[in-house]
Amino acid sequence: MSPRRIDTGGRIDRLRTIRFTFDGAPYTGHAGDTLASALLANGVTLFGRSFKYHRPRGVLTSGVEEPNALVTVLRGEVREPNIAATMVEIYDGLTAVSQNRFPSLSWDVSAANQLGGKLLSAGFYYKTFMGPALGPLKGTRFWMFCEHFIRRAAGLGRAGIAADTARYERMNAFCDVLVVGSGPAGLMAAKAAADQGARVILSELEPHFGGSAKWSGETIDGMPGADWAARTAGQLEGHDNVRLLPRTTVWGYYDGNTLAATERVTDHKERPGKGEPRHRYWAIRAKSVVLATGSFERPLVFPGNDRPGAMLAHAAERYANEYGVLPGNRIALFTNNDSAYRSALALKKAGAAIVAIVDVRPELSSEMRKLADEAEAKSLSGHAVVATEGGKALSGIKVQRFDMTNGALVGDARSIQADCLLMSGGWSPTIHLASQAGAKAEWNAARQAFLPPKPTQRWSTQQWIGAGAFTGSFSTAEAIAEGRAAGLAAAGGTGTPAALPVVEAAPGDPDPAPVFEIRANGKSFVDFQHDVTADDVRLAHREGFVSVEHLKRYTTLGMATDQGKSSNIPGLAIMAEALGKPIPEVGTTRFRPPFSAVSIGSLAAERFGDLKPERLTPMHDWHIANGATMYSAGLWYRPMIYGLSGETVEQAYVREAKATRESAGIVDVSTLGKIAVQGPDAAEFLDRVYTNMFSTLAVGKARYGLMLREDGLAFDDGTTWRLGEQDFLMTTTTANAGKVMQHVEYFLDVIWPELKVHVTSVTDEWAGAAIGGPKARAILAACVTGTAVDNATLPFMGIVRGKISGVPVMICRLSFSGEMAFEVYSGAGYGTHVWEALIEAGKPFGLVTYGLEALGTMRIEKGHVTGAEIDGRTTARDLHLDWMLSKKKPFIGSAMMDREGLIAPDRLELVGLISLDNRPLNGGAHIVETLDEANPHDSIGHITACCYSPALGKYIALALVKDGKARRGTRAHISDPLRNRFGPVEIVSNHFFDPDGSRMHG
């Protein structure tokens, strides 16, 4: 039997023993234990080390707000750091280790930081480490030297490098009513809404439904609260219209009543089921929301309040009642309110000795006196705890008379032996989600807490109703009544004849005394994890960091992993006292998502390991099977080269380009954007969209077109084919296909709705193969049936329809390579068939397949532009495409294209470059008039694309150069300091090869 495990009671399964390790030591617990409860049961009190001073810390809470007991959970090589032991359900083989300590948890050398306590006060780093103003450590060097050590000392757990092998999934859910929290209020709300027929989701961040009913010891409807909760949850489970989500934290309240939640599906399992996600990320669109999120108990601030063994009162009660664990044998309590008395009694019943109930209030109600008597506790009203004793575990406390009206301590302190000190500083409603939804919290002086306001209509995109402790109604009876009312209202119901469940509970006044801190000598912690003390808060005040946000940022109060769930209000109260202002005038920070930290894996969900879909052309598998090296172009994959064994990339593309120019080559162009432009006004529309004229284009012909943006800069180019009087097929660049589609849709829908034009993306309808080279026509002639492909039937920019290997095809004679070339389009499902037929037909002619590198090489030789030149900053003139700017008609961008800045003489213009040292040029290299390798300066432009040109036998490039047109025929230098490549080049026209187009015109 574990030293602190009680023989009976609790909701653990004593018949199931579970084995786990913590810091390598083996322990056992029972099914239903958390790591915290199981370690407590084994007598462990030291759980972790604090952030700054590396002070020993125990477990403070029993839930999600835990600041101290953070561990790393290991699953093989995969690490999960910074997990609260209170939230880890144990399973066989669980391996957990402590954090932020060296060499071990109990002997941590950084605990020496405590000696520098006053030196390491809030904001100390802003005041020092600047280093000398002169000399080798000037500038940022000295700071960076110090920072190196600071960074190593900081941080909690260590993140893993090994890829997580778990799966994460997203789930989109819709419901009428989302109930957040399953305490008595949430259960009642869910039941009431479900009974009205509403679609209900009930979420609970813990493994079991019931909230405080699971451990409060109260009786509901004549049975223990825990049984009532289990029964109610069971009833809900039977409803078709109810979804129960245990282990699910609703962490974000977004616009439009969209709530984000994370369900921990398999964290409590030894191993997940087949296909089972570790976390399921729920995006819930709810018509209305019931917030029944309960409240957090606050610790009190006094010297030594962080010693292992000091714990929140309700947490200890919960360990006893829910887990059958006594956190101590001699327990003292320190409180400013009545709720601790119930806790004291519960622990007494569970077998502990209650050595004292220290209460800051001078007078107790007769009910509380009675409870103290029942607990056989020494009642010390009008007292305060002023120190704790012990090392890494509590051995006693010191108490002193306390005057609540002025905070004064009177008389001598005396010691009381205790191994556990329970604190209760009042309760703070868990208003985080309401605050995220835009609600401004209101201070309630009686409850000494910020309460949510009544939801206002102003936030009509966020509709929630509160119930229970969330609203400051701390009794179970109130929670039950409010929960039902909220559920009914949320479901649009009006009433129910059923009687409310009857609650038998200990008496208690919900209002605490307004005492947050006992000022005495010693470190009094406000934010446990970040080691922010009451003195730090007062220092912030002295230095003027008095607004709540300044306080937070200057001291890091509330910025730890628990996000100040237990520390915010005490911190505010201390600042308010320093300022002499009431708490609400200091303000409260607005809560932002997430409510509690949420795994990044769950947020990436199905995109973890699958960031973007792969977009594949119809011939993709053929390319792979035939040795293509693939290149990712946006979401597409395209062949870069079809390399032969032993070839370099350059050797491969040179071979492919050369063969194309000598005989023929074929390339997959299916990725080009294709848009069907149909309707009686299609031609007129294209006249407006393109800079050049399309209404004059004959049916069965294609034309190269250029589009500008509204601001007059070049946007995209491509050919558009007129397939019928009212039927055009527009092609765009691969990269801009989506943008062009949106562009034309916008104009048709918003600007010119009177035009009768429909546009449809047909990119995926057509497989495209471009075949070019001196033998291209012969190859087509050998395989195309149903049409001739001779010059008369198929002139430059002509379109014919025919068949290849029985498949209907559309062939347009156009050229990007500068060769006699054709684009062959077939239904995508026939793409590979046609492609193979063309290759078969080309075999006798020496046809090669080529990839993007050879495609790029041939286009550079021809001086055609692509996205590297149409980069969003160039004009048609810059690219020598001004011949395409029709003067006969206005078009998108025409009014703006002649503005001062767009016709300035020093603009970058497209030129060609030839390497004069016969060495390769580099993309992104700059161009200078005067070479200065040591100190490069005065760039006049840059290379946009480069290659070895088999046609010219030289390394060439396209470049954008200041006033480039005028520089043709002059020399300049490549200046590429990044790659240490410098050398002479000749600036020439961008049309390197066959400038008059005799090859493509045939």
Binding site: G256, R458, W459, T461, E745, Y746, D749, P753, A895, M896
Partner: protein, 98 residues
């Protein structure tokens, strides 16, 4: 954020593409009034409060919508087709019920 597309019903903002200030007046195509063009292309109303905007339901029916949305609260007070000739009556019946 949810935007209620008049055709598709309420959909998550992820399905929509923001096209900006809907107050801008595009000059007639043939206009040479450079000031008007400049104002159209570059100058935006950027109010703190209700804003007339154009959104495209690019991940749905692809219609462009005129949306009045509060930039302080993200509350949407009206959504209509940018084209006047689509009827709001096209709204899905089943979704009308729910």
């Amino acid at each position: 954020m949810l935007i209620t597309c008049p055709y598709c019903g309420p959909r998550d903002v992820i399905e929509f593409n923001y096209q900006g200030d809907g107050n801008r007046q595009r000059p007639q195509l043939a206009s040479q009034d450079l000031d008007a063009w400049n104002a159209y292309v570059y100058d935006r109303l950027n109010p703190a409060g209700d804003h007339n905007e154009i959104w495209q339901h690019s991940g749905g029916c692809r219609a462009h919508l005129r949306v009045v949305r509060n930039t302080l609260t993200h509350e949407i007070s009206s959504v209509a087709f940018a084209r006047g000739d689509h009827k709001a009556a096209m709204r899905h019946k089943a979704e009308g019920k729910s």
